[in-house]
C-alpha cells in the first residue's frame, strides 16, 4: 500500500494535471467539490435520505478506502446517509435476490456479472444516469451497453469489470520456447503442453468458481465458433463447433496441474503465489499481491489477453460489476445521484487508480488514466471492455442468460468431458437439455 502511494504520486507528477488534482484531493477539498457537484447535479437527493447499499467485498484494500472516501464526501455534501455493507462474491447475489423478492432491506446493490438481469423488473430505469455519464466521459463501450441495457433501457450501470486475462511466468514461457505470448489457439495449446513437460504447469479452474471457471470456458467455446444460444436466444450449444472447443479444452486440461476440477475462485491465486502454478486466467489480484509479498514472482510475471478465436476475433468473458437501484427504494434520486457522482472523473479516476488495474472501466474516456501505462504489466487490463462479451454471447442478455451462468451450464459441460465423466456427445446433450429449460 505504501509502495503504491509513492508510485502513484511519482507517476502523477508527469501525468495529466486534472487527474493529479483529483487524486490528491484532500477530504475537505473533496467535500467542497461534492457540495459544488450537488448544486449542479440533475438529481436532487431526498432530504434526510437513508440508503442501504450492498457491495462485493474488496479484493484490493486501497480500492475500498478510495470508495469509502467517495461515500463520505457524498453523504456530507448532500446530508444523506449511506450504509455500506460488504459481502463476499458468492453471497452478494443471494442477498440481492432476497431483497428483490421481498421488496425491502436494500436500496441499491453493487453486484457481479448480470445481477440486474436476474430481476430486471425490480430495477429502476437508469437511462438518465447512463446518458449523463456517457456524454461526459467519452461514451460507453459496446460491452458496457450490453451489460447495462435491456430493451433500450438501462437497468443497471456497469461500473467496472475485473478482467480475466492470462497471468503467466515469463521465464517459464521462454523456457517452453516462446519469446512472446502466443496470439492464436494452436500456439496457446502448444505453450500449455510445453510448460507441463518442463514441470512448470498451467491450470485454470474447472470447478464451480463463478468468476474464474466461467470466464475461460466461455472464451474457449466462443473462440471455436460455439455458442450456448444464437442471436434469437435459441439454444445451439449442441454443435460441431462446441465439440471442437471441448476437444481443445480437453487437450489443455490434460496438461494442467492436477486438481483444477475442484478449484474455486481463490485456488489459482494461492497456487500461483506459492510458485506451483505458472500460467492461469485471473484478474490482476495475483500481481498486486505478488508486488507486496513476493517481488520475485511479480518481477517474473506478465499478463496477456487470451488468444483470438478461429475467426481472428478475441472474445472474453470478464467479471462485470454493475450497480442497480431497486424500484421499491424510497430514495431513487439519492441513489441515482450517488451512482453518477461515483463515476464522475474526479471520483472515478482516483478510485480506478487505487484498484491498481483490478478494475477496468466501461466508459471510454478512462482509457487515458495513467494507471494503464505507468506499469506496462497492467496495460492489457485497459482493453478489457473492448474484448468483453456478456454471458449471453451473441444472444440477448436477460434473466435466462444470467440463470445459465449461475447454474454453471457451460462449466459443467467442459468439466464433464474433461474429467471423463461423459463423452463429447453426452456432455453437449446434457448442457443442451439444461439450457433449453432455462431459455424456454
Amino acid at each position: 500500500m505504501a509502495d503504491f502511494l509513492t508510485d502513484r504520486r511519482s507517476l502523477l507528477k508527469g501525468g495529466a494535471t486534472v487527474l493529479a488534482a483529483a487524486a490528491t484531493m484532500s477530504s475537505e477539498q473533496l467535500l467542497g467539490y461534492a457540495k459544488a457537484w450537488a448544486q449542479t447535479s440533475p438529481w436532487k437527493p431526498e432530504p434526510g435520505a437513508k440508503i442501504n447499499l450492498l457491495r462485493w467485498k474488496r479484493f484490493v484494500e486501497a480500492e475500498d478506502v478510495a470508495f469509502m472516501k467517495i461515500v463520505d464526501a457524498f453523504q456530507k455534501a448532500n446530508n444523506v446517509t449511506i450504509n455500506v455493507s460488504n459481502e463476499s462474491y458468492d453471497d452478494v447475489q443471494p442477498k440481492a435476490s432476497v431483497a428483490a423478492n421481498t421488496g425491502q432491506g436494500l436500496d441499491m446493490v453493487w453486484g457481479l456479472y448480470t445481477l440486474p438481469f436476474l430481476f430486471s423488473a425490480k430495477c429502476v430505469d437508469m437511462t438518465d444516469v447512463a446518458d449523463y455519464l456517457g456524454n461526459k466521459c467519452g461514451g460507453w463501450t459496446d460491452s458496457g451497453k450490453a451489460y447495462g441495457m435491456l430493451d433500450g433501457k438501462w437497468i443497471g450501470i456497469p461500473v467496472a469489470a475485473t478482467g480475466g486475462l492470462v497471468n503467466y511466468r515469463v521465464a517459464a514461457m521462454e523456457k517452453a520456447g516462446f519469446k512472446e505470448f502466443p496470439k492464436d489457439l494452436a500456439g496457446f495449446s502448444e505453450l500449455v503442453k510445453a510448460m507441463n513437460k518442463n514441470g512448470t504447469p498451467a491450470g485454470m479452474a474447472l470447478g464451480h468458481a463463478s468468476g474464474d471457471a466461467n470466464g475461460w470456458v466461455h472464451w474457449a467455446l466462443w473462440a471455436h465458433g460455439g455458442n450456448l444460444i444464437d442471436k434469437d436466444n435459441k439454444v445451439v450449444v449442441n454443435s460441431p463447433e462446441t465439440a471442437k472447443a471441448l476437444e481443445y479444452v480437453k487437450g489443455l486440461y490434460d496438461n494442467f496441474v492436477p486438481g483444477t476440477a475442484s478449484w474455486n475462485d481463490s485456488s489459482n491465486n494461492k497456487a500461483f503465489l506459492a510458485g506451483q502454478l505458472y500460467l492461469t486466467v485471473n484478474g490482476i489480484s495475483i500481481y498486486v499481491t505478488a508486488k507486496k509479498e513476493n517481488p520475485q514472482i511479480a518481477e517474473d510475471m506478465n499478463h496477456a489477453h487470451l488468444p483470438a478465436g478461429l475467426d481472428g476475433k478475441t472474445r472474453e468473458l470478464h467479471l462485470g460489476f454493475p450497480i442497480l437501484v431497486y424500484n421499491f427504494t424510497k430514495y431513487p434520486q439519492t441513489c441515482k445521484a450517488f451512482t453518477a457522482f461515483m463515476l464522475e472523473p474526479d471520483q472515478f479516476n482516483p478510485w480506478i487508480e487505487a484498484a491498481q488495474g483490478y478494475l477496468s472501466h466501461f466508459l471510454k474516456a478512462y482509457d487515458a488514466n495513467p494507471i494503464w501505462t505507468a506499469d506496462p504489466k497492467t496495460t492489457p487490463y485497459r482493453s478489457v471492455a473492448a474484448t468483453a462479451q456478456t454471458p449471453a454471447g451473441v444472444g440477448k442478455l436477460g434473466e435466462a442468460a444470467a440463470a445459465a451462468i449461475a447454474d454453471f451450464v457451460v462449466v459443467d459441460m467442459f468439466a464433464n468431458y474433461c474429467t471423463g465423466r461423459e463423452d463429447v456427445k453426452t456432455a453437449m446433450a446434457t448442457a443442451e437439455r439444461s439450457a433449453k429449460r432455462i431459455f424456454r
Binding site: F119, G207, T260, A261, A274, A406, I438
Partner: protein, 318 residues
C-alpha cells in the same frame, strides 16, 4: 396459572345458573387451548407456513423478483428426467447411509470407551465434543485446506514419507471427493452420537452387569443382552436425528466443493440452493427441496414405528 384460578370464582359468582360461556370459561381444555396458542402461532408462522409456501412454490414457475404461475407437476416432470437431480439423490443417499453408519459405529465405540472408569474422564469427554462445537463453516474451511489440491497436509506428509510421488486430488476426483466429504461429515457428527449414547449408557443400572458377571456372562454377552437392549430407544432417537442432519447437510458441501467436481458431491440441499437461489429459479429449487420430504418422512417413520414396538423398545429379539 394463578390468574386463571382467581378469575374462576368471579365468573361463577356473576351468574346464578352457569351459562355456556361460563362453563366454557371453566373448561380446562378451552383454557389450555389459549395457553397453547402462542406456541402454535409460532410453529405455524415459522414452520408450517414456510413449508407450505415451499411446497406451493414447487408447483409454480416462480423466479426471483417475480411471482410464478401454477404449472402443476411440470417441475417434477423435468426433475424426473434430469440426470443431475438423480445424481444428487444418489449422492444424498450414499452420503447419508455411509456417514450415518460409520458415525454410529464410531460413536457407540467411543461411548463405550468413555463409559469406563479412566483418569481425566471429564476432560476427555469435553474434548470429544470439540468437533461438534466448532462452527461448521470453520471446520469445513479447515478440511478444505487439508484436502487442497496443491497444499494438502496429507499429500505433503505422504510425499515426504516417500509413500506417494504426487498430490492426491482429494476434491477433484469423483470418488476421492465423495470419500472426503463423508469423512468430514463423520468427523463432525461423531461427538453428537457418542455423547448422547454415553448419556444412555449411564442410565443402565450397574447391578445388571454385576448379576450378569456372577452368572458368568462374557463381555460380548453383557453388551448383547444388557447394554444393547437397554440402549435401543436412545439409539433410535439418536440415529433419527443423525440421519436427518446428514440428509439435510448443506454447509459442509457448500464450503468444500460447491457440489463439484462435476456434481459428484451435489446433495439435494445444495442443488436446491444452486438452482433456487443462485440461479434464481425458485420453483425448481423448491421442487428439489420438496422432493426431500418423502425421504425424511420415511426416516422418521422407521424410528417412530420402531419406538412404538414394545418388543423393540424392550430390546427383545423374539
Amino acid at each position: 396459572m394463578s390468574t386463571v384460578q382467581t378469575s374462576l370464582p368471579a365468573g361463577a359468582v356473576a351468574s346464578g345458573e352457569p351459562s355456556w360461556w361460563s362453563r366454557l370459561q371453566t373448561n380446562r381444555n378451552f383454557i389450555a387451548l389459549w395457553f397453547m396458542l402462542p406456541a402454535a402461532a409460532f410453529l405455524i408462522l415459522f414452520l408450517a407456513y414456510p413449508l407450505g409456501l415451499g411446497v406451493w412454490m414447487s408447483f409454480t414457475d416462480e423466479k426471483i423478483g417475480r411471482t410464478g404461475i401454477f404449472v402443476g407437476l411440470e417441475n417434477y416432470e423435468w426433475l424426473w428426467d434430469d440426470a443431475i437431480f438423480w445424481l444428487a439423490v444418489f449422492n444424498t443417499l450414499l452420503y447419508t447411509i455411509v456417514a450415518s453408519a460409520i458415525k454410529f459405529a464410531i460413536g457407540l465405540y467411543l461411548a463405550l470407551l468413555l463409559n469406563r472408569r479412566m483418569p481425566f474422564k471429564a476432560i476427555i469427554r469435553a474434548i470429544v465434543l470439540i468437533p461438534f462445537i466448532v462452527p461448521t463453516v470453520l471446520s469445513a474451511i479447515a478440511f478444505w485446506w487439508i484436502y487442497d489440491a496443491q497444499f494438502s497436509i496429507i499429500s505433503w506428509s505422504l510425499i515426504k514419507l516417500g509413500i506417494i510421488n504426487h498430490n492426491i486430488d482429494f476434491l477433484g476426483d469423483t470418488n476421492w471427493a465423495r470419500a472426503s466429504v463423508i469423512i468430514a461429515n463423520i468427523w463432525r457428527g461423531v461427538p453428537f452420537v457418542a455423547i448422547t449414547l454415553l448419556a444412555g449408557l449411564q442410565t443402565v443400572s450397574p447391578s445388571l452387569y454385576e448379576a450378569a458377571t456372577l452368572d458368568g456372562a462374557t463381555n460380548w454377552q453383557r453388551f448383547r443382552y444388557i447394554t444393547y437392549p437397554l440402549l435401543t430407544p436412545i439409539i433410535a432417537v439418536v440415529m433419527t436425528f443423525s440421519v436427518l442432519f446428514t440428509f439435510t447437510d448443506f454447509q459442509l458441501i457448500w464450503a468444500l466443493t460447491r457440489g463439484g467436481p462435476v456434481n459428484a458431491t451435489h446433495l439435494m440441499a445444495t442443488l436446491s440452493y444452486q438452482r433456487g437461489i443462485i440461479s434464481g429459479r425458485l420453483g425448481e429449487g423448491a421442487a428439489i427441496a420438496t422432493a426431500m420430504i418423502p425421504f425424511l418422512l420415511a426416516a422418521i417413520a422407521i424410528s417412530w414405528f420402531g419406538m412404538q414396538r414394545r418388543k423393540w423398545q424392550q430390546g427383545s429379539d423374539q
